[in-house]
């Protein structure tokens, strides 16, 4: 016997009586299968399974790039013993003849999510459960049953091994790698061991993805519903992931402290305990991200929290839209990626008006999605393909063929389904190729396995023939002479032959028509049309005459039986009786074996005749092209399709049909090189293929609003070098200048700044499910592809304060960005901008009827209490840090709590507070609270009653970021007035105007101008409201907000 696979790393789960575990540990050959201790006694005789066989004569695809044109595979006890071109089959081995077929390693499904809602609910209800019902890492896929329908669908597509993943929650639980066997097929062991992963993914639905690729079974829910549990947003999910991973590490540390003698017993924490293998590096972390931006976010988070962990990404299919970022992150994190093949449908272009509504982004997504796998393989990533996210798993091989048409090579395709997932799953020593020593997971295909029309005819899983190989027919196809056993009413036709074909059950008679017989044998020359197996085609019942005048003398006439079929080697059908010397039609039955058969023929009046059929020698057959059609010729024709239907009905469901039609309409386009196309970022309209124009630039002869000490120059120049303002003045001589623009008649201002925006935030602006969500961060969910960025940039806006919404008193952390359109989220970040957070007061935060606070009274005390908690938190950590090393080692460490950490930073004075506020009382409350905890509020947002307490705001030193003139949309803004900004400005408050609106953000200059009308600000003072003032409020005025030497060259023309 060939060498056994090495005992690959598979965790201590031998307690499960797994035959395979035993096998792979080398317990040796000749192992009797039903040895398992849990096996029920046999009710009768003990069965014997020799468990040894050989597949001979097939083309063997041993592994990607390694094919034996005609080879033999020898299997014993579920394991491949030998593979080769000229192998002798050992005595006593069953032989499967696979001549003309292709044998390949069965596929490995790296991601089969199985509904785990029940297990998750049970985990949540257990003592020691996590407070948040989305954190159920203790769920194990071991308990999850694969529905038989999924199992059959996967097998039909060639899969023998799956990794089952729990579906429910954010931390969803651990995987199990299994052979795709049913309970009834046991005692085959099922658990393949391998490398386990913890599955993790955001909870929220990405809406853009939803429209393009609606996830099956997902019902979209409105965002920000107050009854929703935490988290409701993508940023909330990320925050929960981050905190939980930190908690797992804390649990690890505190468990060790407990071991060293901490007197305090550890609490039951099932969820965190279930994450300890991840912390220890035994479990990997699978990131389930249907959205290409989320994919990058989760990869970053994994790198930040679990830098040593084995990482896998389960993608959504649009990764190519964020190709360069994901390529580098995958490489950096050494992460493998599992990609679906659910490619978008062609857009609906039924009318010109409908066509108008389809974006270039959608069109390009449709065109390029099938290049997704190839792009990442070409980039050197470890790519496995999955049936996950396919609405119909039966369409997998069709979609795979699409990917191949888009440049994926067949070797690459095979690797994505065998060797690569085997390596990812840590089972490559056991399966993934047809090499000796591997599990006999084998697919027998009727031809090229990557042609979607090819039939997968047989399948072995660990040597068990789970999909029976088609047996050699009892009565093989061929042509037979006909001899009447008894007298027939009339003589047989000349040289009468009967041809049968077990492939489709057809029965045909053929003979040489004799001219003399013509008058009476009218029907005899008629040729019936090809009958289908269950053929009830009306046409075949009315055979049409074929003009044979031109035929050579020995030309044969044929007639086919209708309703012809075959079962168990017995053929039957209804055929014209004339050539057999009978009147009318005959109901015939043919049975026999090998080279002879008997044909029973009943006439319509019930008379029975018997005929003996004798096989015509093969060489004689070969001369008749009609009898032995090459198999390939039938592939893809109507008959072939019908057959495919009967085995895999799902293959033909809706979309498959579309794709077929589409191919027919555009038969000539070669898409195999589309994957080489460089794609703009963001994909679609206005995306950039390369970085925008830069270098050294001189703008001449413009009116220059410096918003700095130099004031406004009626006519002047601005010199930009290396992204910075190198000079501003009336006349700049700069000989080395590379580009000069004459700006005669134009104005140059600093790039405009919006101190309150919700643009470009993925997956929800509010995490409003709790009153304090300081742990969430807008910076985690920057969406650089939002088209509104481009529109705002076109309106002169260059820097933006992206704020969390106002659903809760202590909201999420904000993000300050520059609109670097064409670049990724990381490039958008305004490096060096101080950290901040959104607070909110008033109507919005008390609207929830089921959550504290529900009045302005409660808001005040809630914020106060939160700061007290943060103070105590700081003290706790300081006390721990002050311990001597020995004491600290056995002291339970204080938990790192992001929420309190963030609040403590406010008290430390290292984090800016931007507070949504309207009414004067709540404004004063917040200022007093800030004073109590010793920090200055950076900005009061909206602050529409700021004019009522302008001196108080000025005294505190808070900035005010207001609307120019909004009011009347709710009660707390009924007293808002458009002079608000000017009055606060006059009181000495640092004032800015913001948009809080994607539309308004495109014309901030117009908003600023309103302060000239309402309150009489000078033009420079008004422009300051949207340039230097918001820059100062955000503490980025050292970098932007005015046109002064050394600042960033952020300007609007």
């Amino acid at each position: 016997m060939a060498s056994r696979p090495a005992p690959a790393a598979f965790p201590a789960r031998l307690s499960r009586a797994s035959i395979f575990s035993a096998l792979s540990l080398g317990l040796g050959s000749g192992l009797a299968w039903p040895a398992a201790a849990q096996q029920a006694p046999v009710n009768g005789m003990r069965p014997s399974d020799p468990a040894r066989f050989a597949i001979v004569g097939a083309k063997v695809m041993v592994a990607p790039g390694q094919t034996i044109e005609t080879g033999t595979i020898v299997v014993r006890d579920g394991v491949i013993e030998a593979v080769g071109a000229d192998l002798a089959v050992p005595a006593g081995y069953r032989v499967y003849d696979a001549k003309g077929k292709t044998v390949l390693p069965a596929f490995i499904e790296a991601a089969l999510p199985v509904d785990s809602a029940t297990a998750a609910a049970a985990a949540t209800a257990s003592p020691g459960a996590h407070w948040n019902s989305f954190v159920v890492p203790e769920v194990s896929a071991q308990t999850l049953a694969i529905p038989d329908a999924s199992l059959d669908a996967l097998r039909a597509q060639g899969f023998a091994v799956v990794r089952v993943l729990p579906t429910t929650g954010i931390f969803r639980g651990t995987s199990e790698i299994r052979l795709l066997v049913k309970n009834t097929e046991r005692p085959l062991g099922r658990d393949l061991g391998g490398a386990r992963v913890q599955s993790m993914g955001p909870r929220s639905i990405d809406w853009s993805q939803f429209f393009q690729n609606p996830a099956p079974g997902v019902t979209p829910q409105p965002r920000g519903e107050r009854s929703m549990p935490y988290p409701s947003s993508v940023m909330g999910s990320i925050a929960l992931m981050r905190q939980t991973l930190m908690d797992a590490k804390w649990r690890d540390a505190s468990t060790r402290a407990a071991e060293l003698g901490s007197p305090v017993p550890c609490d039951d924490m099932n969820a965190l305990d279930a994450l300890l293998p991840l912390v220890a590096g035994r479990d990997g972390l699978l990131l389930d991200a249907s959205d290409e931006l989320d994919a990058a976010r989760l990869l970053r988070l994994a790198g930040e929290q679990m830098p040593g962990a084995r990482i896998e990404l389960l993608g959504g299919g649009n990764e190519f839209r964020n190709e360069s970022e994901l390529r580098s992150l995958l490489a950096e994190r050494k992460a493998a990626v599992i990609l679906p093949v659910e490619f978008p449908q062609a857009p609906d272009l039924v009318s010109p008006t409908a066509a108008e509504t389809i974006s270039l982004r959608d069109l390009m997504t449709w065109r390029y999605a099938p290049t997704n796998p190839k792009r990442f393989i070409a980039a050197g990533a470890d790519v496995a393909l999955t049936t996950h996210r396919l609405a119909d798993k039966g369409a997998f091989r069709k979609r795979l063929a699409d990917a191949i048409a888009h440049g994926l090579t067949k070797d690459e395709a095979l690797a994505t389904l065998t060797t690569t997932p085997a390596r990812m799953l840590g089972i490559d020593a056991r399966t993934g190729t047809l090499a000796a020593g591997k599990l006999a997971n084998i697919v027998v295909a009727s031809g090229d396995p990557f042609d979607a029309e090819t039939k997968f005819e047989g399948m072995f899983i660990a040597g068990t023939n789970v999909v029976a190989m088609p047996e050699a027919p009892i009565l093989a196809a061929g042509s037979f002479t006909v001899e009447a056993q008894a007298a027939t009413p009339k003589p047989l036709a000349k040289d009468l032959r009967v041809a049968i074909d077990p492939k489709d059950g057809s029965i045909k008679a053929s003979w040489i028509a004799e001219p003399a017989a013509k008058p009476e044998g009218e029907a005899a020359k008629a040729e019936g049309e090809a009958a289908t197996p269950e053929g009830e085609t009306p046409k075949s019942e009315a055979p049409k005459s074929e003009g044979d005048a031109a035929k050579p003398a020995d030309a044969r006439t044929t007639a086919a039986a209708r309703r012809a079929s075959v079962a168990d080697g017995r053929f039957s059908g209804i055929i014209d009786g004339a050539p057999f010397g009978c009147e009318g039609e005959l109901r015939v039955g043919i049975a026999g074996v090998g080279d002879s058969a008997q044909m029973i023929a009943d006439t319509t009046d019930g008379t029975r005749f018997l005929f003996t059929l004798r096989r015509v020698a093969a060489e004689e057959n070969a001369a008749k092209p009609d009898d032995a059609k090459p198999q390939a010729a039938t592939a893809g024709d109507a008959k072939g399709d019908a057959k495919a239907d009967s085995t895999g009905p799902a293959d033909r469901a809706g979309r498959g049909g579309n794709a077929g039609g589409e191919r027919k309409r555009t038969p000539t386009e070669d898409k195999s090189n589309l994957w080489k196309d460089a794609l703009p970022y963001p994909l679609g309209e206005y995306g950039l293929l390369e970085k925008p124009f830069g270098g050294t630039v001189l703008f001449r002869n413009a009116t220059i609003w410096t918003q700095g000490a130099a004031g406004t120059l009626a006519r002047g120049d601005v010199l930009v070098r290396d992204g910075k303002i190198a000079a501003v003045g009336e006349r700049i001589d700069a000989p080395e200048v590379s580009t000069v623009f004459d700006m005669q008649g134009m104005h140059i201002t600093p790039g405009l700044i919006d101190c309150h925006s919700h643009t470009g935030i993925s997956g929800g602006v509010n995490e409003g499910t709790q009153s304090n969500t300081a742990e969430v961060s807008i910076g985690d969910v920057i969406d650089p592809t939002d088209i509104e960025w481009y529109r705002q940039l076109a309106g002169g806006l260059t820097a933006v304060n992206q704020l969390h919404g106002s659903a809760n008193p202590i909201g999420g952390r904000n993000s300050v960005v520059k609109i670097r359109w064409g670049e990724g989220a990381e490039a958008f970040r305004f490096a060096g901008a101080p950290a901040g957070i959104k607070f909110a007061l008033g109507e919005n935060v008390v609207r929830s009827k089921s959550r504290y606070p529900s009045s302005r009274m409660g808001v005040a005390t809630y914020i106060d209490d939160s700061f007290e908690a943060a103070r105590e938190y700081r003290a706790r950590h300081a006390a721990y840090a002050a311990l001597d090393d020995a004491t600290r080692a056995r002291t339970m460490p204080p938990r790192k709590d992001v929420e309190l950490e963030v609040l403590a930073e406010i008290i430390d004075g290292t984090r800016l507070v931007h507070c949504h506020s309207y009414r004067q009382d709540e404004i004063l409350m917040l200022l007093a609270t800030a004073k109590k905890y010793g920090f200055r509020v950076a900005t009061l947002q909206h602050v529409l009653e700021g004019y009522k307490v302008a001196p108080e705001i000025a005294a505190h030193g808070a900035g005010a970021s207001s609307f120019s003139d909004w009011w009347a949309y709710k009660i707390e803004v009924m007293d808002a007035i458009p002079w608000n900004g000017a009055i606060m400005h006059r009181a000495g408050v640092l004032v800015s105007f913001n948009s809080d609106s994607d539309e308004l953000a495109r014309r901030m200059n117009m908003e600023a101008a309103k302060a000239m009308r309402y309150g009489g600000l000078t033009p420079e003072q008004a422009l300051a409201l949207v340039t230097i003032n918001p820059a100062r409020q955000l503490r980025i005025d050292g970098r932007t907000g005015s046109l002064e030497v050394g600042k960033d060259a952020d300007l609007a023309i």
Binding site: E356, K970, I971, R1013
Partner: protein, 461 residues
């Protein structure tokens, strides 16, 4: 409100009931700005830049406007012949133009958007032509005084929601009673056309097939309704004993083609469908929309359909649209020779920014005086009020404003306004609050503003 002080501690349930009422009462902050009396003597505005809002003579750079008895009697360059007892308004350095027309709007029908009890915009059901805003306008709404302070003197309040939302009314923004505000209670029908091309927007949960089916059903519903109303009117004409039907009566002038149908649309498919449908039934369509209008321009032109651009400050509906798609639309309509006007399409509190929408259209290519007409003469023409309102011409109503700066310019404010010759008080709750708290600030500054010691830490330090 007073009754609230009578409640006892035991009457908690009654208190709860009163609380909702109390909220309402607080909301309807009643304007104490006094409506203007009728014009008692002639007024001559002199030395003004006169924007007539006529195509023939759009601007008179140093001109005059004289009005008496509520009507303009003289417009022209230089000094007018002053009537006896004439009040003179020296507008040197200022501009005169017609008052702005917020057509359509929900001004007067809603006070505080988030408070349902102050919102009378929508009537029950899907087909309710009998809903007439003129009877439901609150003359003391703060939104009216704030809007007219920005030069909005006329409005066309419309109901919303449903398929046939109701009837459009025309009002002036000053008067003691709804009757005094009303110019014409009924100037057309207001409809929202079904979405005949499925929306691809993310908010739509329905499949394209479902949407198409629903649109088809809705159009059939509208068809049956219009036919039924027509049949009722015909039957009543022939036999007066046939029962009166409020709905049919409300549609009489629309079905006859006398009054237009203001049909709200959001795509070119809706435009094609609505115009063809209405025209086939002998009615006049006015398109109210923005998205889809540009690609429908040739069709609108050939069918001579007026357009109300529903907001210039509007995001393009399609990702691939040019960034200035909405800004540049009015210029394209003007170039095509289509009669169009501009409205904000915004919440009623923001109607005061109507001239800014027109200004943006001008910044993106539209002639500034054409832009002015789009918020004065053209809306009046489209609403059938052109004989009385919309331009500064002799015999027209003296419904005019004087501005410091071009009337559309953002930095211009309104120095004076007259509606039908009545001099309008431009104060409002907002200006009163301004005065009140400017006083507070002045006193604080006089007192040397007890500056607290600056709070301790700041992230910039």
């Amino acid at each position: 409100m007073r009754s609230m002080q009578l409640h006892s501690t035991t009457g908690l349930r009654a208190l709860a009931a009163l609380c909702s009422f109390a909220t309402t009462a607080t909301v309807s902050a009643q304007s104490d700005v006094v409506p203007a009396p009728a014009q008692s003597r002639p007024v001559a505005i002199i030395h003004a830049v006169v924007h007539t809002a006529t195509a023939a003579q759009p601007v008179i750079s140093d001109g005059h406007v004289v009005f008496d008895g509520g009507r303009i009697v003289s417009v022209g360059p230089g000094m007018p012949e002053l009537p006896a007892n004439c009040e003179i308004f020296d507008a040197k350095g200022m501009h005169v133009s017609p008052g702005f027309c917020a057509f359509p709007t929900s001004l007067g029908l809603v006070e505080t958007l988030s408070v349902e009890s102050t919102d009378d915009r929508a009537e029950f059901g899907e087909l309710r032509p009998e809903a007439v805003p003129a009877v439901a306008i609150n003359p003391d709404s703060d939104l009216l005084t704030v809007s007219r302070a920005a030069g909005i003197l006329l409005a066309m309040p419309v109901p919303n929601g449903g398929l046939v939302s109701g009837t459009a009314s025309a009002i002036r923004l000053d008067g003691w009673t709804p009757e005094a505000l009303t110019i014409d209670p009924s100037i057309g029908l207001v409809m929202t056309w079904p979405m005949v091309d499925p929306a691809r927007s993310l908010v739509s949960r329905r499949s394209p097939e479902e949407q198409r089916k629903r649109a088809k059903e809705d159009i059939e519903k509208i068809g049956r309704f219009f036919d039924e109303m027509k049949a009722i009117l015909a039957a009543r004409a022939a036999d007066p004993t046939v029962a009166h039907d409020e709905r049919a009566e409300a549609m009489r002038d629309v079905l006859s083609g006398k009054d237009p149908v203001f049909v709200q649309v959001g795509s070119s498919a809706q435009i094609e469908s609505a115009v063809a449908w209405l025209k086939a039934r002998g009615m006049r369509a006015v398109i109210v929309g923005g998205e889809g209008v540009e690609s429908a321009i040739p069709f609108l032109k050939s069918e001579s359909i007026p357009v109300i651009v529903n907001g210039v400050h509007r995001l393009p509906g399609q990702r691939h649209a040019p960034t200035d798609a909405a800004y540049a639309l009015p210029k394209k309509l003007a170039d095509a020779g289509i009669l169009f006007s501009i409205t904000t399409g915004d919440e009623p509190a923001h109607e005061r920014n109507l001239p800014h929408h027109a200004a943006t259209a001008a910044a993106f290519g539209l002639d500034p005086e054409a832009a002015l007409r789009a918020v004065t003469a053209n809306p009046c023409a489209i609403a059938g009020l052109a004989s009385r309102y919309g331009t500064v011409e002799p015999l027209k109503s003296a419904t005019i404003i004087v501005t410091r700066g071009h009337p559309l310019e953002l930095t211009s404010d309104v120095a004076a306004a007259w509606i039908d010759g009545r001099s309008i008080d431009l104060t409002s709750h907002q200006s009163q609050m301004k005065r009140k708290y400017e006083t507070k600030l002045e006193r604080a500054q006089e007192a040397g503003a007890a500056n607290d010691a600056p709070p301790v830490k700041d992230a910039s330090e």
